[in-house]
Amino acid sequence: MTVAPEADTRPVPEGHVRLTIDGVEVDAPEGELLIRTAERMGIVIPRFCDHPLLDPAGACRQCLVEVEVNGRAMPKPQASCTMTVSSGMVVKTQRTSQVADKAQQGVMELLLINHPLDCPVCDKGGECPLQNQALKHGRSDSRFRDSKRTFAKPVSISSQILLDRERCVLCQRCTRFSKQIAGDPFIELLERGALQQIGIAEQQPFQSYFSGNTIQICPVGALTSADYRFRSRPFDLVSTPGVCEHCSSGCAQRTDWRRGRVMRRLAGEDPEVNEEWNCDKGRFAFHYATATDRFTRPMVRDAATGQLRDSSWTEALRIAADGLMAARDSRGAGVLPGGRLTVEDAYAYSKFARMALGTNDIDHRARAHSTEELDFLASTVVGTGPGDGAVTYADLESAPTVLCAAFEPEEESPIVFLRLRKAARKGHTKVFHLGQWDSPGVEKTVDIVGSGSPIHSGGLLPCPPGGEAEMLQELPAEVDEALCRAGSILVLGERAARVPGLYSAAVRVAERTGARIAWIPRRAGERGAVEAGTLPTLLPGGRPVADAAARADLEQTWGLERGALPVAPGRDVDGILAAAASGELSGLLVGGVDPNDLPDPGLAEQALRSAEFVVSLELRPSAATEHADVVLPIAPTVEKSGTFLNWEGRAREFGSTIERTGAVPDCRVLDTLAVEMDVDLFTQTPAAVSGEIGRLGSYSGRRPQAPRVAAPSPPRPGPGQALLATWRQLLDNGSLQDGEPHLAGTARPPVARLSAGTAGRLGLAEHQPVTVSGPAGALTLASEITEMPDGVVWLPGNSGPSRVNRELGVGHGALVELAAAEAPSTSAGPSTGDNPARPDNPAGAATQLGSSTGPGGGRTDDSRTDGGEG
């Protein structure tokens, strides 16, 4: 935009029109809405229904202005939120037009006649657009003398959202958001006239992963959060910008806190990343940091009692240092940092392993993983970033074709899902999914039913689990052609590591079609950890361990002697655990790792038990702390600063939100621990680490070869067998979601999905529980007949009783046994029968829709995942 007095002499820029707003000439891009042009000029026109990311509605009529087109004044004031600019238009807003001003005041008065005057008890009070605009543009008193329309209130439309219909101004932002952006049209307008109201269908609550956004965009206090209800007022909140620590989307967020406690989190604005949205997990799952069982002091295992006891930092660090040094000097120590670290913390782990422990036995991938993945990360992922070859959100949005392989966008990276949906909704992006069934995330990126005509593009390419690589090599011609169009993108998700040959196949397909590859891990810390070198074959900055020059470079920066860095590539997570279990490794340094996330939880527990010395850096009790000799408490994300790299490789820096709590980040703990071991890491603060990473720079040598692993055909299930498809749901048993029962109420109920054919062969009736057995045991879930390939069963990875790694001991793509369970039950089914020692997992109650007091608080230790923070 340009505002220039001499505008009439200058030519109108290409694709722009020149108009006059309040006497000022302005050039605006064609198709821009009047309200935005005015806003860019600094003229704020009041509005309620208008939202820049939603389609215009023109419902509230608050933004009326006077408009003159082609020298003719339009007879009625026009809604500036629906009218686009045109050449020669003359617009008068409330600042220069009596008519517009009166129209706006009139609408404001009408909005208020049925609005309750309950601002003092309303959560929105103090940050309410209606309140602000009523004070700014409204009358000082009301002429309304009659009775207001009343409704029962509040109504719970999901376990986390409360609806107050009296306050609602029916701007339809929430319904439009749900319909257009999230694709979850569970809320709609009901009735008509003055009785019109927002509502949900009976028995069908507002089950959306993005429902929290409606609270944020509601311009009045009609939609409020059950969790934040009556907790505080805007004026006593301190708002700190931050970055979400849950998934690799890297959402900007705003944390509102009071007296050292986080009261709520809101989506931050970042057009490059999350626009103005976030998911409910990012919004509501923050109570884990204030859980009562959080560690505040270091603990050491008392030799006499065998129990952990509080200790001083000095004592704990001394014992830890001695133990680790002994382990190092005996058979060595391995490091398992976990996938939720900031880049700085991961870097400290990486440096600690190499310098203090002298080993490359470090791997942050606390999940299924493979050597092929390691090669793929080293060859294709590390060292890229936005503007440096990596795929970005903007690329996804403008891509002609996106093919998601072994990736479930809505469950694994909700903001990627929103972008894919946005791209598909604009009608120029075809989204294909290589998966097993038409999951909600697939459906909503393929079939777009919103305002306007329905769009159908892309689709599901069904394949047996484990057959993704094979399928990728033999794509249907239509998909293959689409993928050949310039700008196409191939997305790989977390479970790609479970499919042998998938990375290799993806690289080949990318080479052949020109499509670019995006690797989207599930956890916030994974991408950054790759850069920080917490991998057995990679040093910080993408330097291969095998490259002597790279090692020398690092030795110089770290002030080490030539050849001080370990030369041999290290073991990966499985290798470290196996070595520890068999006594080949003496010590373990464990960050936020939960055995249940690992392919073989039993092996992990055995390793923790067998290792001579275990140091755990943890936030809250976990399987690791149960066996640890020393537990060192670390700061949760909210109490430290740092940087996450999101899946794009984009640095998402954040400052400390709540300060002076005494909690210290991992990098500081490791630094001090190293000092005790006579090693200087210089990682006292995240800022110092960040500086060092900057100085270090990234690897400029030749990258290792991309993996070339042949894709084996998936096994054929025999009678009574099936191939297991599984992935994690967004809201599940993860320990970072602890303490938030309202959020758990919107988790998707755990069910086992199988095709009608598979069910028929088992003699399974619809919803009859099915028992799935693997090498480690069995679990029973209610079944749901779903359109998917025969001989496949799908289970949620870690929801309620369905904790696949632990109960079955196998993962995506493996053969499992199926049997119809005897007792048909309406609930999600009993937890497994063959593990009676394990306490029932209350998280199964998450299936009770709309329950306001769901599970959460009482989870047992072994139900946690994504172990604490660390």
Binding site: P77, G106, L110, I113, L117, C119, G193
Partner: protein, 463 residues
């Protein structure tokens, strides 16, 4: 029965009154709704003529005939048809708006009851002209009998080869779907009708895009009134000059005036556009029981009221507008001296309050407020201030609402106060006169009201 009231243009009456039975010509024939009767009375002859012509010729014919939309707005039908893209890249749709809900209006339902085939013939010709292969007739759900007759007539037309594939061997395909609405006044608004037809909530859409670009299922669509489309076969048969011979220069053709209320013979009277109420009253046998006329609506309750002073206003689009009202649907509701204007206005406002779709603030909240104030006034609890409030609220609704429903809702109030302010004042006077007792009532009822004003404690917390 409505047909019984339809006035046939007998030779005797033609000399004294300007009746022009065109659309209503067949209404009194025995079993007029059957295909056989229709065919006997020149039925489907126009269709054969039309199918021989080029579609664009038909559009030109309708343009030159000057046929204006009969649904209320009076937009030239030929021009509207001309907006449809010439080369179909997407399916084209013709949608007939038969959701006749305007209070006082009773012309489309009788037409479809008595002569459904004229509408169907019109639909086929119009669809052919617009290159549409699908036509929907959206009928008001309450008119159940009418829906049945239409269904029957459409079935007859299919059986006779007028509908379906290859209509009369011309190679033109057309399917007609009769759809019953669910009883919402707003669905008479064309875009709300389209949404409703798509199975969505009936609320008006944002324009642009206009239906001719993206209407039903985002495809080019024309929405026409029943009477408009039913006129088309006659224009095809009679030609534009014949059509223009009736009515006035800018509003040619005949029009069905539905006269209701305090007249001797209420019913449908088809007369050229521009006929005055004085002439129509003569046709309808004059005022009932000779009680003088007090006020009337020229085109349903959404058009500002007229009084006895407007008896000679020519009832065509221009004439009604010049006199400060609108032609609307030519639903003439006649009220005699016995009717209280505020009461009638209240009833109408209650209708709009009930029928407001709720999408936009001015109409949703405004009608709610207006109805309450009027109810209070009629109940004798109004004040003079209320009249000003009414007018100002009307001003805040008129031209501020999303669609024309809000504009229509305020016209009885503003025109009622304009012509009959003293009646509204009289209600307030009664209020004043009853001060003695009223004061006591106020004291009781107003205790809280006053304390509310004086008591800051209540200002915030009480709703």
């Amino acid at each position: 029965m409505t047909e019984a009231n339809a006035q046939q243009g007998s030779p005797a009456s033609r000399e004294t009154a300007p009746l022009t039975p065109v659309l209503t010509r067949r209404w009194l024939s025995p079993e007029s709704w059957t295909l056989s009767t229709y065919e006997q009375l020149e039925g489907y002859t126009a269709l054969r003529t039309a199918l021989r012509a080029d579609p664009d010729q038909l559009v030109e014919l309708v343009k030159s005939a000057g046929l204006r939309g009969r649904g209320g707005a009076g937009f030239p039908a030929g021009v509207k048809w001309g907006f449809m893209p010439k080369e179909p890249s997407k399916p084209h749709y013709l949608v007939i708006n038969a959701d006749e809900g305007e209070p006082g209006t009773c012309k489309d339902v009788p037409l479809m009851m008595a002569d459904p085939h004229s509408l169907i013939e019109g639909c086929i010709i119009a669809s052919y002209a617009m290159r549409a292969n699908h036509c929907m007739i959206y009928v008001r759900g309450e008119a159940l009998h009418c829906v049945r007759r239409l269904h029957h007539a459409v079935r007859e037309a299919y059986d006779a080869g007028y509908l379906g594939t290859n209509v009369l061997g011309s190679g033109f395909d057309l399917d007609i779907v009769v759809h019953a609405g669910a009883g919402a006044y707003i669905c008479g608004e064309e875009t709300a009708l389209l949404d409703s037809l798509e199975g969505k909530r009936g609320q008006p859409r944002l324009k642009p895009p206009f239906p001719a670009q993206a209407g039903l299922y985002s495809c080019p669509t024309t929405v026409n009134n029943v009477e408009t489309i039913a006129s088309v076969p006659y224009i095809v048969n009679g030609g534009s000059d014949w059509f223009r011979a009736m009515g006035r220069e800018k509003s040619p053709g005949p029009k069905i005036y539905s006269i209701s209320g305090h007249v001797e013979n209420p019913g449908q009277y088809e007369a050229p556009l521009g006929t005055t109420l004085r002439e129509l009253l003569e046709l309808a046998g004059g005022m009932k029981d000779g009680i003088p006329l007090k006020f009337w609506t020229p085109g349903g309750s959404s058009t500002p009221l007229f009084t006895a002073d407007h008896l000679d206003v020519p009832l065509d689009f221009e004439g009604a507008t010049e006199a400060g009202s609108m032609l609307g649907t030519t639903a003439l509701m006649i009220f005699n001296e016995t009717v209280s204007v505020p009461w009638a206005v209240m009833k109408w406002t209650q209708f709009y309050e009930h029928e407001s779709c709720g999408k936009c603030t001015p109409c949703r909240e405004g009608c709610f407020w207006l109805a309450q104030v009027l109810e209070r006034m009629v109940d004798g609890r109004g004040t003079e201030e209320d009249i000003d409030t009414l007018l100002d609220v009307c001003d805040n609704i008129l031209g501020r609402s999303f669609c024309a429903l809000g504009d229509g809702a305020v016209s009885p109030i503003t025109s009622g106060i304009k012509y009959f302010r003293e009646e509204f004042l009289a209600l307030c006077d009664r209020n004043e006169g009853a001060r003695g007792t009223q004061d006591e009532r106020d004291d009781k009822a107003g205790e809280h009201g006053r304390s509310q004003a004086g008591d800051p404690a209540l200002a915030g917390a009480a709703r």
